[in-house]
Each structure stands twice: as structure tokens, then as C-alpha cells.
């Protein structure tokens, strides 16, 4: 499934973000997977709640970081699509 602007992405059950205090980083915990999150990944996931559409997420991030929406959309789409393909997130 390809992520479209109207889709409302969300992390699947059994996937959570946590602050790893020992290493001082944010991590995404999923079945058999630990992904270290960079600040961009963290910001995207903070907006990814299953309520907001992908277009809303991009708009919010573009406003927050004062960055061109096209650039944000490209980064966020690549990031979320990878999670969707790996059955860590879904788009509905």
C-alpha cells in the first residue's frame, strides 16, 4: 500500500517510541526490531497519531520547522512508507 495524502498513518499495536535513557537517544521498539530515531524521525512520529492525515502531518511539520512542504513531504513519505512496508505502521 502506498501512502497517499488523505491516509491517516499510525503505528501498529506492539510498536512504541521511548526515550532510551542509557544511550541518550529516542528509539522505536517493534517486534524483533529496535530503530534509533533521529530528530526528524521523532518529529514525524510525534504527529503520526492515526487521526491526522498525511497532508496534515506535512503541513504541521512545515510550519514547525519553517521548511518547504515539498521537502518535508518527501522525507516524511520515505520514512513512513518504510515503516508501512515493514509492518511497523499502517495507512488507512
Amino acid at each position: 500500500m502506498s501512502l497517499a495524502d488523505h491516509h491517516r498513518p499510525r503505528l501498529l499495536r506492539g510498536v512504541r517510541v521511548k526515550r532510551d535513557r542509557v544511550r541518550g537517544v529516542d528509539v522505536l521498539l517493534a517486534p524483533e526490531r529496535v530503530l534509533r530515531l533521529d530528530p526528524v524521525g521523532c518529529a514525524i512520529l510525534a504527529e503520526t497519531d492515526g487521526e491526522r492525515s498525511f497532508a496534515d502531518i506535512v503541513a504541521a511539520l512545515a510550519a514547525r520547522f519553517d521548511a518547504p512542504p515539498a521537502r518535508i513531504a518527501a522525507d516524511a513519505r520515505t520514512f513512513l512508507q518504510t515503516l508501512i512496508d515493514r509492518r511497523i505502521a499502517e495507512a488507512r
Partner: protein
Amino acid sequence: MTETALAPSAASRPAPPPPLAMLAELTHRCPLACPYCSNPLELTRKAAELDTTQWTEIFAQAAELGVLQLHLSGGEPLSRRDLEPLVRAARAVDLYVNLITSGIGLTERRLDALEAAGLDHVQLSLQGVDADSADEIGGYRGGFVRKMQAARWLAARGIPLTLNAVMHRRNLDRLEATIALAVEMGARRLEVATVQFHGWASLNRAALMPTRAQSERAAAVVREARARLKGVLAIDYVPADHHADFPKACMGGWGSTGLNVTPDGTVLPCHAAQTLPGLRFERAPATPLGRIWCDSPAFQAYRGTDWMQAPCRTCERKTKDFGGCRCQAMAMTGDPAATDPVCIRSPHREALTARAERDAGGTAALVYREGCG
């Protein structure tokens, strides 16, 4: 005192990066008798198992050390009556909790309790795609039906499911059916794991070793299925390593990523480390996990690259595969510091291939796991 170049000592050696994952082998008891069981020939008795309080202490030590993911394994962890409080204890220290099970011993009531305790994920083993073949491998009549029931309970609750299918000569030709079953069961992930011949499994090399043709076909089946099922089923594939050119980075490198705790609390750098000579393993929680990870000679023995011999020592892959599997090096060459004989640069590679091909042409009967009941 002046600063001079000192040999690394316990005082000056930098602390290793903390482990990401811990495998807790809660018990060696198991209702199944799989011939490819990777647990040691000599199992830990029930009387020697750690109790709830000791495991709880180990989970807290693990979280403090930096472990993020906890795999509850065995044996069959459902054989532990205190599995539910153990899951709760692990979640209380914010570990990600994965239950590795055959599903035998699961009831709806237990599953409700495990879910309420905060279980994150279940990894269900699959011995075969139908009752006859699955129950033959597991040595347990009715096991397949109970497993399928367990999978339906998991799906009904929405608990994330990974299927772990151990593949070998007898079932590798049914890989397409295995993948289809994983989709039908609602699994999110499938691990296609070619049998590795450690522990009890080493007695079944001639009964289970896949042929080269089977492995090559399996790789193609996985490639096709991954593309077709993208976003439906994630597939991890562990090929038979003697059909590859280079070894796997066993455990991501010795003492670098994960640790194992056996039912009596013995802390190991890998599942089969007790087959290596000259290592003394300490027990948690009496000796704290963090001290074992950082200072135990057994964890330092093959950590990093300083221990390597030729050809590993000068190899550009030495920080990619870390010389491969120490236990396989020991089993095949008698030297635990040798290059994994899977590597095409190992002088033992030809002998390994010849032995695997001889085993693949074998007709031996299955030798069922003993001592776990």
C-alpha cells in the same frame, strides 16, 4: 606516576556499549520434542530454575544496563506458572516483552492475563503446515491443532504475531505453503529460519540438512514473496550458512548486542557458548548483569577483533561478520578462535561443504529431543 601506554586492564578498558536484547530461557521444560532443539544435550532441571523474585531482579538489572527488548524463551515458557507476573515485572521496568512459544499450554484465560500484564508481541513456532507433518516433527500429537487455536486467539485480540518456521530438508519444499499459512493466520512477520545444528540438533544433521538445490529455490521463493507481500507480511530469511560465501555475524558480534540467561541464571554471550572450552560463566542475579557484561572474562574472550587469528585478523570483513560463529568454529575445527569454517577464506571450508553435502544426501531417522518433559 607518569602517563604511559599501558596494556588494557579492567581499570582502563572502556566500557563496552550496552546490550540491546536479552534472551531469558525461563525453563528447559517443553511438551514438544523437536529433533532440531538447539538447547544443550544436558538440560537444567526444574529444581534448579530461578524463581520469580530472581528473574524480576535480573529484568531490573537488564533495563538498568540498557537492554531494550526481552525475549522470554525456553523450553516452553508457558510451562512456568509465574509467566504472567514475570511479564508484568518486565514491563514495570519498561522492557519490550516478546514471548517465544509453541502455543502449547496457552488458554484464553492465560492469554487474557498475559495481555493485561503488558505482553507486547508473540513469536509462535511453526513445525509444519499441516497436522501430520507438524506433529511428527514436534513429537506431540494434537500440537498443530492447539497451535492454530492459539493463533486464532491472538488474532482475535490483535496481539502482534510473528511466525517462526524452522526449515529443513523435510519441509523446505513447502515454503510457499508456509508463507501462505502465515498470511492466513494474520501474522505480521515470518521468520524463515533454516535449522542450525547446535545442541541437540547436531544429532540430526543427516536427518535434516537441506540440499543445495532446496536452499537456492527457497531464496528465490522468499525474494518473490517479499515483493508480493510488501506491507502485508515482513519476511526474515536465515539461509543455510554453508551455502553462503561468508559467515553470519553471530549475535551481531560476541558480547556486542545481546546476552542469554539460562534457566539457572547462567549468563552467556550466545545460546551455545557452553560448548566452548576454557570459559567460565557467571550467574545472575547474584553477580549483577552489568558487571558480567562489562568485566566477565567470558564476555571479553571474543569481543571486538583483538582475539582474531589469520585470516580474520587482516580481513576487511572482520568488523562486518566478526569472524562468524565461535561455536561452529569449535565444532568443526576444534579451535574456538578459528575463522568460522563457513567463510570461503577458511582452510576448513571445503571440508564443511563436503560434510554438509554428505549429510544432505543422508536418510537417517529423526532423533527426538529427550529430557525436556
